[in-house]
Point group: C2
Chain length 152, copies 2
């Protein structure tokens, strides 16, 4: 299936999905946070080699990973998250928290607060008011007016 | 391309991606937050009808949307986010914030704090310590040991 690009949409959600929204991509990024650096580390999750190659190539082109040579003969490379890539931690955190609440299965990836050892969550936050805010305090622009029922 | 399921992985990130990780799915969910309810609302973004049908069907089966009949002759349905679906707002927020920082283009979807009108961000938060925490205070389990370089 040819994928239509989302990169030209006037929305940062769509443009982000254009970079990291392909199947497997966020699993690869997750594994990088867990310590994966080399091709064989990333393939351990069960991804096919040709897909993994294509995803890594795109992520390097997008600046999410930096490709570094770690061996000369034969040449071998490892993939290290850039600042842009490390900044995806919030995305992974949000996905993980949703999955903890709404899917069933073991969780071997809990993210904890180093100081106290408790699990980290995410809160919506207002920099201006310097406090966490509830979802009920959020205003979202209503871009789409629901359609009027068609006559007949 | 046949997609391998991520639903049986011992990781809530992977299981979440199994539910909402297909191309277009989060764009559909985003549009629901912006007011889309009906098939013609969702297709406005440019998604092909057959893909939209398949995505909505899966999201209803997963309990992200509830399908409600709004007209009898002919029967027509609209798609309303459930609590499970509304809980994806954090995921969309994280994607949007990353896109604001790391992609270029207009942003017509800013989420603001109703009370003060300023933009909402996301912070990692420790419930135990009742305070926002920096990424440097987070501990993540290192599941994958980097491979030892192959001899030769």
């Amino acid at each position: 299936m040819q994928k239509r690009s989302l990169g030209d949409q006037p929305c940062p959600v769509a443009r982000t999905l254009d970079v990291i929204g392909e199947w497997w991509t966020l699993v690869i990024v997750r594994d990088a946070f867990r310590g994966a650096r080399r091709f064989e580390d990333f393939r351990a999750v069960g991804i096919a080699d040709n897909i993994l190659s294509a995803r890594l190539k795109k992520l390097v082109a997008e600046g999410v990973f930096e490709r570094r040579r770690y061996q000369e003969h034969p040449e071998r490379f490892e993939y290290v998250l850039t600042e842009k890539g490390r900044d995806l931690l919030m995305v992974l955190g949000a996905l993980g928290l949703w999955g903890q609440r709404w899917t069933r299965g073991p969780d071997t990836t809990s993210i904890t607060h180093e100081e106290c050892g408790h699990r980290v969550s995410l809160r919506a936050w207002c920099d201006e008011c310097a406090r966490p805010i509830d979802l009920s305090e959020i205003r979202m622009p209503r871009m789409i007016q629901p359609s009027v029922p068609a006559a007949g």
